[in-house]
Every structure is written in structure tokens, then in C-alpha cells.
């Protein structure tokens, strides 16, 4: 039997607000335990929650970015359960009426084997605001467990998809797209190691061609795309094998062990809590007006889809190039800055996707850490365009700029300026002796030398061998140590040979 895997994701994104969702305590990561736990975070008797408007703005931004319905009225509910890191004995979340309703994102699934790359629309079911719990700390004191409430009350947006994904690759493509999108619109720092972006993946399998969903198991808290891929692949194989062996799947929550590459059930549904949700009487329903949406929309950056379309129309880029450059806001920003610094769009796109990308990948650097900032790249491409250097020479200059970064290059965001970046590029060209020779006299002298030394080739050309011409160009370039302007060499050679 052929099987089909069905996948849906629930993603917890920590919102980038300065203070917690229901109190004024700081949300900074990595502080000493319980130094960011105010009376509300500790849930002292008598304290009350007050909704952080910035968290609401983040939710609206996300809703707008995925073309979702934004509820004019949504309700905070209490999810009741006991756990030491949950100080109130309930989590404030949204249950029946979430702030963000149905929306969608388009993902690019990369080519794999015989399957070419393709696009797919993934439907978002809902996204709701809630507070994060604290952390249990085991072993800090011998034989005791500690509680750190710094994280308790950090705002989260939980984003839930429909079960629309049909492979680990699609799930990972969605997670990456979402990861990029929440950073693009500035609501989440995307730091997976610190837990700012955590995915729960619901996986089920069914015979291909059937409609009924199989029983799902939920893989909790995946904090890397690599683990997500491995976990889904393992879980899918395990479910198929179980069914093929005549077994049944029990609904369960499972954990992925990166060391073994396996998933393992941590609790079954029978042990599931009854959370006794009810509307939180301490908070009024959240109302979002058309004016609120308009205000947030005005604060939003251009979204990736819109920017992609603009790159195609404004810069004449191909759909593929435009999609690649807008897959990340940092890359898009870098590209735009390079163009602004004088580069032509097409070569700028090629360099960003080519040389710059290759270097960053090799050194595992983010584009914001590139030693060649976009202004420098722009200046470099300016010198190719004006004939100062050849494309090959430019690669040498680029390498030099990369390995001995200018102290003024801090990040792409540091305002550069053509005044100094052109100077830097020109200095490297000079130091490396790469300036292209465009002086007609000098080129003529070189060609005369080459023609004299290669009489046989000249004869061959005259006998009708076109290839001999290219060989002569090559000899001339070699004699100039690559610095002669190839277009000029071509033209003069043709003239001399009477071609």
C-alpha cells in the first residue's frame, strides 16, 4: 500500500516586546533567575493582568502579513492546570475566539531528486496570543528543583496551520517561511536556540487516495529545522511500519531525541488534562478596530510577496531571482543597498546569490555579518560596469575585501557611502595591479607583439580557421596579464587581421 503523511504545525513565536504580555517586567533573555519576576510574574495574591498593547500590535502585524481575518473582538481565557513553573495555576491564552483567524502563506519547496521545486499554499487556521510559562531548573541545588520565573509571562503568538503539508520537506519549507516572515515583520527575533521560535508538529499517515485523517501524534518543541526534518521522517516511518505490522496508532505527545534520531511518546491521550477553559474575568475582551489595523498596516515593512513582484517589475529580475532575494529580509535589504550604491540590478543579484552567498555559507555567517558590505559591493560592481576591471579581476578584489575587511565595515546597516567605499575598492585594484588596460597604444603594442610571435596562427586564421582568432585573443590577454580590456583587444585584432 502506498501511504501519505499528513502534517500540521503549531508554532510558538516569542514576540519582541520590551515587557511581558500582562505586566511591566522585562522580557530580556539570559538574566539571573527570577530577577525579571515582578509581583505579577510570581502571581502574588491580589495581582491582576494588564494586556500589553505592543503584543496586540504584533498579532495584528502577523494577521495582516498572512492575509488573515483579524477578529474585531477576541477573548482571553484561562487554561487551568497545575505545574510548578505555572505560577497562577492557569495560563492566560485565547481559546474560542483568537485574535487572528484564517489566513495563508505560500511556501517554496526546493527541488529534491527527480521532483522539481514547487510552490504551495499552506492555510493558517488561527493565531492566538498567550503567555509563556517559567522554567524548572533541576540540579542547581543538590536534590532540589528550582523555578525560574523570568520567562513567565513572555508574550507568545501561537500560529496553527491546517493539516496541509504532505512531506517533511513541505513542513520544513513552511517552518522556514514562517521563521523568516515573523522576523521580516519584526515581531520575533527568530532565535531558535533561545526558544523564541518553537514548533510542535502533528503527524499522521493514511493510505494514499483516502480522505479520512489518521490518528495523529504530536512531536513537541522542535527547535531546529534539521531536527524537524529528522523527527518527521522517523515518525512517518514508525507510523507506517506500525500500521503495516497490524498495529494501531494511539494519539500521543512525543519527544524527539536528537542523539538517537528517534521519537518517543511522553504521555498518551488518556492522561490528557481537562483544562477547564473559561473567559478570564480579569481581562476585558480585546477589541481591534479598522483604525487599529490601518495604523499597524502603516507601520509595516513591504512584505516579501510585494517586494518580489517589485524586484521583477522594477529591476527586471527573473521570478526565481526575485524569490531567492526576498526569501530573507536581510538578503533583500543587502541587495537593495548594493543597487542604491551604484550597482546594476542584474549583476548585483548574481553577486549576492553567487559570490556573497557562497562565502557566507562557507563561513557560516549571516549576511548582516558580511565583511563586504553592500556599499562596497556596489562600488566593486560600479568598477566592472565602467570598465575599470574585468569580472575575473573583480573576484580577486572581492576576495581581498573579504579577507582584509575595512574597519569601517560594521554591518550592512551601518551607513556607508560611496565616498569611501569607492576609494577602498580603487585602492585594492591599485594594490593588486588589476586595473584594466584600456589605453589604445598599449594594447596595440601588445597585439603587434602577439601577431609577430604567432605567425602560424595568423596563417591558420587567414585560411578560414575561426578558432585561431580566439587563440590570438587569449595570447593577447595572457601577454597583458589579464588586464587588457577584452572588448578592445577583440576590436583591434579584427582590424589588424582585416577581418
Amino acid at each position: 500500500m502506498e501511504w501519505e503523511v499528513v502534517i500540521g504545525l503549531e508554532t510558538h513565536t516569542q514576540l519582541q516586546t520590551k515587557t511581558k504580555i500582562f505586566s511591566g517586567a522585562s522580557t530580556a533573555f539570559g538574566s539571573e533567575p527570577n530577577t525579571q519576576a515582578c509581583e505579577v510574574s510570581i502571581a502574588l495574591p491580589g495581582v491582576l493582568p494588564v494586556l500589553n498593547k505592543e503584543a496586540v500590535n504584533c498579532a495584528i502585524k502577523f494577521g495582516l502579513a498572512v492575509n488573515a481575518e483579524i477578529a474585531p473582538r477576541s477573548v482571553f481565557a484561562r487554561k487551568n492546570y497545575f505545574y510548578p513553573d505555572l505560577p497562577k495555576g492557569y495560563q492566560i491564552s485565547q481559546y474560542e475566539l483568537p485574535v487572528v483567524g484564517k489566513g495563508s502563506v505560500t511556501i517554496q519547496v526546493p527541488a529534491a531528486g527527480k521532483t522539481p521545486a514547487y510552490e504551495k499554499v499552506i492555510n493558517i487556521t488561527r493565531a492566538h496570543l498567550e503567555e509563556d510559562a517559567g522554567k524548572s531548573v533541576h540540579g542547581a541545588v543538590e536534590g532540589m528543583s528550582g523555578i525560574d520565573l523570568n520567562r513567565a509571562g513572555t508574550p507568545l503568538l501561537e500560529i496553527v496551520t491546517e493539516p496541509d503539508m504532505r512531506s517533511a520537506a513541505e513542513a520544513v519549507a513552511y517552518a522556514k517561511k514562517l521563521h523568516e516572515l515573523v522576523q521580516w515583520i519584526g515581531i520575533c527575533d527568530g532565535n531558535m536556540q533561545e526558544g523564541s521560535f518553537r514548533c510542535d508538529v502533528n503527524v499522521s499517515v493514511r493510505p494514499k487516495g483516502t480522505d479520512k485523517l489518521g490518528t495523529r501524534r504530536e512531536i513537541k518543541n522542535l527547535n531546529s529545522f534539521k531536527f524537524m526534518q529528522q523527527a518527521i521522517e522517523f515518525e512517518t516511518r514508525w507510523q507506517i511500519e506500525t500500521l503495516e505490522d497490524g498495529g494501531t496508532i494511539q494519539q500521543a505527545t512525543v519527544l524527539f531525541n536528537p542523539d538517537t534520531g528517534e521519537t518517543r511518546a511522553m504521555r498518551s491521550k488518556e492522561e490528557a488534562n481537562d483544562y477547564r477553559y473559561f473567559p478570564d474575568p480579569d481581562l476585558l475582551p480585546l477589541e481591534v478596530t479598522a483604525a487599529d489595523k490601518a495604523r499597524v498596516r502603516a507601520e509595516m515593512p513591504e512584505l516579501p510577496e510585494a517586494m518580489k513582484a517589485r524586484f521583477e517589475s522594477e529591476y527586471g529580475l527573473t521570478a526565481y531571482d526575485a524569490a531567492t532575494l526576498t526569501a530573507s529580509r536581510d538578503v533583500a535589504d543587502y541587495f537593495v543597498a548594493a543597487v542604491k550604491a551604484g550597482a546594476d540590478a542584474k549583476p548585483a543579484a548574481n553577486w549576492v546569490m553567487g559570490a556573497v552567498s557562497a562565502k557566507l555559507n562557507a563561513e557560516e555567517k549571516a549576511i548582516t555579518e558580511s565583511p563586504v558590505n553592500p556599499e562596497l559591493l556596489g562600488s566593486l560592481l560600479t568598477r566592472i560596469a565602467d570598465g575599470s576591471i574585468s569580472n575575473n579581476a573583480a573576484k580577486v578584489v572581492f576576495e581581498k575585501l573579504w579577507t582584509t575587511p575595512d574597519s569601517r565595515v560594521k554591518s550592512v546597516n551601518a551607513q556607508g557611502g560611496l565616498d569611501w567605499t569607492l576609494e577602498v575598492v580603487d585602492q585594492v585594484i591599485l594594490d593588486e595591479g588589476l586595473k584594466q588596460v584600456s589605453d589604445t597604444g598599449a594594447i596595440e603594442a601588445i597585439i603587434d607583439e602577439v601577431l609577430a610571435a604567432n605567425a602560424a596562427m595568423v596563417e591558420e586564421f587567414k585560411a578560414g580557421k575561426e578558432k585561431a582568432f580566439n587563440a590570438l585573443v587569449g595570447q593577447a590577454m595572457k601577454a597583458s596579464k589579464g588586464k587588457a580590456n577584452p572588448a578592445q583587444v577583440n576590436e583591434m585584432l579584427k582590424k589588424k587581421l582585416g577581418a
Binding site: 495574591p45 491580589g46 491582576l48 494588564v50 505560577p87 492557569y90 473559561f278 480579569d282 476585558l284
Partner: protein, 489 residues
């Protein structure tokens, strides 16, 4: 001096006829004498109290005094007060020293009032007799064999026995008005959202509201001027302009339309109490009021609705008392679950456990729609009853409680009988309306003791100033509110 109104005390302090320290000491001396018997206070700290009195005297000397500066007030032990043990009447919080101030405390501190101490109360404000307190019952100053009502029984007894100039209370289903009625004082539960709940330990968040308990309507108005006001730390606090609750006290009542709900005078009301209320209504007629018969048809549903909603909210509000961060933790336990179970089993009393169980049950999957949702729907109907009634009248009057103070122990084993104590008060909490109880006379019980009877006045939303006016005018022609229990001089 101990019988003086807040206004008189304020004038005496301003004229330096008495200092705040002297006045405070006078009350502390009375507390020393009578509290061991009455048990109205469960938290006393003379040093802190006298330090506040000294600070108040400095304010007065510097010419910065307000109407309540230097006046000793009792605070219900439901309000967190920095440095004060704040127990909420529970073993669970017997050793909890609050590290912060409730907004109500902050407001009294800013006004220069002196905190005399924390008053006894039913555990987590759950009760109508003060008998669920971990710290023992409170005796009704009018008859030590009887209860003072609850849950603000300590505050009521303290005002009644003149162990403070005035006190704060909280009212979730009648916890200010019923003890005010049983102890012969004037108590006001404001419109929901008028007084901040920040730092007031939650029982049922959508119903809880703090208010004053004092000797007269005028005293309550002065207390309200301090207590009321928007607080951005309470999302249910209403952002309204500050008002002077004394502004309408002296308005004549000519043409006032008083609604009498027939449901408040039906079966269940003690005959003698009913007679006292009728006499009070007659007095209002003399003052120019016009009597209108009205109906609040869903009154009978208010108790069942309340005993679904209040426990539901309480079951969640009380989850934080888990022994992890503060409060009672069992001395020995085998694992986390055992720690939770033992700590909560030991820390909570029977009535609190009963309500946690009810609340947990009504919120459970499969029962939520039938109980919680249905109760919310009826709650809206109850509010609509009042909305309709206020089309025909300006205020509603009736008894505050179905009987006078009952004997200690009489109802402890019969929760339903106890719950019926709040039959006339609960519906205003469900609707979020303001309600008050004022002394309206006495009813003589079987043992020959005269016990106070309270007249309830229910107003429309934000109509506290008018209600205080209605009460004050009555108190200008009657002296019930000035009576004091015998033997406490």
C-alpha cells in the same frame, strides 16, 4: 470621641483638639480591651500604626491634611499591605507578609489615614457568618452569642464596637451589606469597577468589589472619596472622572421614586425584619418619596447562578496557592503531586474546598455548557431585570438580609441555609450594580435582645452619590445609625 463622625474627627484633628497619635491610641486601647473577646482584628502592629499616626500629625502640622488625614481605619485582611501579614482569613496565608500595597491601601496611605490593623473575615471571603475564618469566629457586638455576618464580619464588628472610626470591606455576594445589616452600620458596595481590585485578594473576580463600612452615609461618602478611582493596573477598573461623593448628601428627596421589588418581600423574609423595613419605607414617604411596586422576576435564580459562577472563578483564582512560591506548604511529602495535595488539603478550610470542588466541576468538559454558560446567560437576564426596573424608579429598596444576626454555629452545617443569607444582595453583584445597607431599626429576637436590621438601597450604575444622599436624608430624621451596643463604652 469614639462615636464621632469622620467629619467631626477631621475637624478636631485640624483644630489640633486631638492629635492623630492620641486618637489612634484611644482606639488601640479599646482594641486591647475588647478585641480578645470580639476577635474583630487578626492583624495588629501598634508600631506601624503609631508611626502612621505620627506621620499624619506631621501632615496636619505642615498644612497638608485631607479629610481623612490622621483618622484610624481598619482594613479587611483581604487587602495586601506592604509589611503586614495578609492572611485572607486562611491558614494557607497565615504567614504571608505582603511585599506590596493594594491600590486601596495606597489610596488610604496617600490620604494620610492610619491603618489600625487587619480585620477578621471568612476564609477567602467565602461565608456569611465569619465562621469559616481560620482565626476563629467574630462576635456580634450586639450579642456575643451571635455572628456578625460575613464575609466582612471583622470590619463590621470593629465599626459597631467602635474599635475603629471606619473600615473597609469587600462584597462578592453581600459581604459588606449583610454584615452591615447584622451589626447596625452603613455599608456600601459600589458599582463594579469603581474601586480598584489591585492587591485585593481575589475570590470571584467578576463580582468582587471593595467598599466602605462606617457609622453613617456621610462617613461612607468620605471613604468613597478616597477609595474610588481609575487604576491602570486593574483592567476592569473604569476610567471615569473623580467625583465627590458628598456632593448630593443634602439634596431633598421630594419626588424620589423608590421601587419595592415584590420578590424581596415574599416567603423567606423574617416577619419582624419585614415590619422594620416597612416602617423605614413609611419614613421615606414622609420625606417625599413616591413608592413604586416593581418586579425582579429572576431573583430566585440569583443564588444558584452565583453558586456556579463564583466557585468557578474561585477554583481558578485559588490555584496559585500551591505551596511552591509562598503560603502554606506541607511539612512532608513524597513527590510534587503529594506536595500539592497535602499543602492544599491542610491550607484550605472546608467551605473553601467545597467551592473549589463545585467550581472545578462546573468548568469540567461536558458540564461547562450546562452550568457555567447557562449561568452566564441567566446572569444577563438578572441584569436586564434591573435595567427594566430602573425605567420605573430611581432607587430600589428592600431588606439587606432575610433575618437579624443568627446564633454562632446555627448554620455552619447547613451551607444552603447559609447561602440564603445573601438572597437579597447577590443579584446586585451579578448585575454589577451598587448596593448599600443602612441601619433601619431593631428587631427583638426570641431571647429578648434587640438586634439591628438593615435597609438595602440599590442604585443604578454609578449612582452612588444619589444612594448616599438617599441614606443621608434618612439618617437626618432617624437615629438608628448612632446607636451603639451596650457594655462597650
Amino acid at each position: 470621641m469614639i462615636n464621632s463622625s469622620l467629619k467631626t474627627l477631621g475637624q478636631m484633628l485640624a483644630k489640633k483638639e486631638v492629635s492623630s497619635v492620641e486618637l489612634t491610641q484611644a482606639f488601640l486601647n479599646r482594641i486591647d480591651t475588647f478585641n480578645p473577646e470580639i476577635n474583630a482584628y487578626i492583624g495588629l502592629d501598634q508600631q506601624k500604626t503609631l508611626a502612621q499616626a505620627q506621620a499624619a500629625d506631621a501632615m496636619i502640622a505642615a498644612g497638608n491634611a485631607g479629610p481623612l488625614t490622621g483618622i484610624p481605619i481598619a482594613q479587611k485582611d483581604i487587602f495586601c499591605a506592604s509589611g503586614w501579614t495578609t492572611t485572607c482569613g486562611s491558614k494557607m496565608l497565615a504567614n504571608f507578609v505582603a511585599p506590596y500595597d493594594a491600590q486601596v491601601i495606597t489610596q488610604f496611605d496617600a490620604a494620610g489615614a492610619v491603618n489600625l490593623g487587619k480585620t477578621n473575615m471568612d476564609e477567602f471571603a467565602m461565608g456569611s457568618s465569619n465562621e469559616t475564618s481560620y482565626f476563629g469566629g467574630v462576635k456580634n457586638p450586639w450579642d456575643f452569642t451571635r455572628v456578625p455576618g460575613g464575609s466582612s464580619g471583622g470590619s463590621a464588628a470593629a465599626v459597631s464596637a467602635r474599635l475603629c472610626a471606619a473600615a473597609t470591606g469587600t462584597d462578592t455576594g453581600g459581604s459588606i451589606r449583610q454584615p452591615a445589616s447584622l451589626c447596625g452600620l452603613t455599608g456600601l458596595k459600589p458599582t463594579y469597577g469603581v474601586v480598584s481590585r489591585y492587591g485585593m485578594i481575589a475570590f470571584a473576580s467578576s463580582l468582587d468589589q471593595a467598599g466602605p463600612m462606617a457609622k453613617s452615609a456621610e462617613d461612607c461618602a468620605l471613604m468613597m472619596n478616597v477609595m474610588a478611582g481609575f487604576d491602570e493596573r486593574d483592567s476592569t477598573s473604569l476610567d471615569r472622572e473623580k467625583e465627590d461623593y458628598t456632593r448630593d448628601l443634602n439634596k431633598p428627596l421630594q419626588g424620589l421614586r423608590v421601587g419595592l421589588p415584590k420578590e424581596f418581600f415574599a416567603e423567606g423574609l423574617d416577619t419582624n425584619v419585614g415590619k422594620v423595613i416597612e416602617t423605614a419605607i413609611a419614613e421615606y414617604k414622609k420625606l417625599g418619596a413616591e413608592i413604586v411596586e416593581i418586579s425582579l422576576p429572576n431573583t430566585g435564580l440569583s443564588i444558584p447562578v452565583y453558586y456556579v459562577l463564583a466557585p468557578a472563578e474561585a477554583s481558578s483564582n485559588l490555584s496559585r496557592y500551591d505551596g511552591v512560591r509562598y503560603g502554606h506548604r506541607a511539612a512532608e511529602y513524597t513527590d510534587l503531586m503529594d506536595m500539592y495535595c497535602k499543602s492544599r488539603a491542610e491550607g484550605f478550610g472546608a467551605e473553601v474546598k467545597r467551592r473549589i470542588l463545585i467550581g472545578t466541576y462546573v468548568l469540567s468538559a461536558g458540564y461547562y455548557d450546562a452550568y457555567y454558560l447557562k449561568a452566564q446567560q441567566i446572569r444577563r437576564l438578572i441584569a436586564q431585570d434591573f435595567e427594566e426596573a430602573f425605567k420605573h424608579c430611581d432607587v430600589i429598596m428592600g431588606p439587606a438580609a432575610p433575618s437579624t444576626a443568627f446564633k454562632a454555629g446555627e448554620k455552619v452545617d447547613d451551607p444552603v441555609a447559609m447561602y440564603l443569607q445573601d438572597i437579597y444582595t447577590i443579584s446586585t453583584n451579578l448585575a454589577g450594580l451598587p448596593g448599600m445597607s443602612i441601619p433601619a431599626g431593631f428587631s427583638t429576637g426570641s431571647d429578648g435582645k434587640a438586634l439591628p436590621v438593615g435597609l438595602q438601597i440599590i442604585g443604578n450604575y454609578f449612582d452612588e452619590a444619589r444612594m448616599l444622599n438617599v441614606a443621608h436624608q434618612y439618617q437626618q430624621v432617624t437615629d438608628w445609625h448612632t446607636r451603639m451596643p451596650e457594655g462597650l463604652a
